[in-house]
């Protein structure tokens, strides 16, 4: 899509390659040591932090890669969605109840 707008911005090819390499390394480490990883990560108790930390690491590294991947492919959000929008008034099905004036009697 970037092409259609006259290459308004440079595609993040370098970032995609860096994150892609990191992601590949992470998955290679995970899948080439399956037995050791499975044994260690399923001990329970404090070892529970290991799968959680790995999931976070994947989300950061592979998430970064997939983000740049789609950008390089030219698939990005519409330009209008990235503009900052002022607060809009929304319509309501019915009027909200207005606060009623109260009379306070003084004794």
């Amino acid at each position: 899509m970037a092409q259609q707008y006259g290459n308004l911005k440079k595609k993040p090819l370098g970032k995609m390659l860096v994150y892609g390499a990191l992601s590949a390394a992470l998955y290679a480490a995970l899948l080439s040591n399956q037995a050791a990883v499975t044994a260690l990560f399923t001990r329970g108790a404090w070892y529970a932090a290991l799968p959680i930390a790995t999931a976070f690491a994947i989300s950061f590294v592979h998430g970064g890669f997939t983000n740049y991947f789609w950008s390089v492919m030219g698939i990005e959000a519409t330009k209008k969605s990235l503009r900052t929008r002022p607060e809009e008034k929304r319509s309501y099905d019915r009027e909200r109840p207005q606060p009623q004036p109260r009379l306070r009697a003084r004794v």
Binding site: M1, Q4, L31, V37, T54, I58, S59, I75, R90
Partner: protein, 361 residues
């Protein structure tokens, strides 16, 4: 959870076909989740179980893939100004409580009635919730489309207008997605129900998103995006709980995540190309199709419990396979609608841009 057997010894061997299968299912699930905020996970647990993964390991690994996926999706959609972090976190905390309570109920049902009883409970919950909520969401989407007002700003539902008008001192919080203050006392039961559903059918968003839209008054885009924050909070707590018992197969979670992170980015991008009612349409269509998938399984569990005549093995096999096929069809249909809507939106924007260029030249 205390009686959960240590199932690490049952972790399956992974071959290339298994990896590819999980990657593709993950991608499609991620695509749908990125678009409607949830809904992609329900097919993953049965998909893993079809490879021979024990039920609890499949549930735990699904949960562990869900929270990082939701995190990535939430960050992406926050860039488009669609996420209400405050609402997501508050909603998510009560949803987490619902998850624990729901899991507790599941365990009690399982202890009392066995696997068949537990499965029947899950299927009945699926059918009831999806019939009521899915029907309402789909009807609303179709009405909006037919009314010709699909382009106009979404109206706040009457119930949501009332909820926003109720003032309970000491409990009011302002939410940017609602552009109004709402009492946290309304959020507690909604979050709790979302968590309970997540613990029961693995997709809390089927209550979470509609309740944010129709009860609290959030726009569809913001409701579905905020659900990703809720899913992150719920998924993180749930994953930790399962990991404490050594039930998470990080290899499975990682492979699904490899596909679903591609999908969730694409689904999130897709939300910027479509009209808000499309979120409701995709969600409604998936919910209604899945409803039939689970309804097919009810006779199987009733038969296993001895409540109806025993079904033959062949009948059970046919029903199970058909149920899984319908579930996969639901997800594929959702993904197709998302991709088609994206393509149309993309083409329309390209034409507008070309027109602008022509006019300037």
């Amino acid at each position: 959870m205390h009686n959960i057997p240590f199932e690490a010894a049952n972790f399956i061997d992974l071959n290339l076909m298994n990896i590819l299968y999980l990657f593709i299912v993950g991608f499609i699930g991620g695509l749908v989740s990125g678009f409607i905020g949830s809904g992609g996970a329900f097919v993953l647990t049965p998909a893993m179980m079809s490879l021979g993964v024990p039920g609890l390991v499949a549930v735990a690994s699904n949960m562990c893939h869900k929270f990082p996926k939701a995190l990535v999706g939430a960050i992406k959609r926050a860039r488009y100004g669609q996420v209400d972090v405050k609402l997501g976190i508050i909603f998510g905390i009560f949803a987490e409580a619902g998850v624990f309570y729901g899991a507790n109920i599941q365990e009690k049902i399982k202890a009392a009635f066995g696997d068949a009883g537990s499965n029947l409970y899950v299927s009945v919950a699926f059918v009831l919730v999806l019939a009521v909520v899915g029907g309402l969401v789909l009807r609303d989407a179709v009405r909006t489309y037919r009314s010709g007002n699909a382009d106009s700003e979404e109206k706040v539902a009457k119930l949501a207008s009332w909820v926003q008008s109720v003032n309970i001192p000491g409990t009011m919080i302002y939410f940017k997605s609602l552009k109004a203050k709402v009492s946290v006392l309304f959020i507690i039961p909604l979050g709790f129900a979302t968590g309970m559903l997540a613990a029961t059918i693995a997709v809390g968003g089927f209550i979470g998103v509609p309740s944010m839209i129709y009860v609290l008054g959030a726009p569809s885009l913001m409701g579905s995006a905020t659900e990703l924050v809720v899913a992150f909070v719920m998924g993180l707590g749930g994953s930790f709980k399962y990991a404490l018992h050594g039930l998470v197969d990080i290899r499975l979670a990682g492979i699904i995540l490899a596909g679903s992170l591609f999908g969730i980015q694409l689904g999130a991008i897709g939300t910027t190309y479509v009209k808000p009612f499309m979120i409701k349409l995709v969600m409604g269509v998936i919910m209604v199709i899945v409803l039939f998938s689970r309804a097919l399984m009810v006779p199987v569990y009733l038969s296993q419990l001895g409540l109806i005549e025993t079904l033959t093995d062949t009948t059970v096999k046919i029903l199970k396979n058909t149920s899984f096929a319908i579930m996969a069809f639901a997800l594929l249909t959702g993904a197709f609608i998302v991709l088609q809507a994206m393509y149309k939106g993309h083409r329309a924007e390209r034409e507008t841009a070309e027109k602008e260029v022509m006019e300037t030249a």
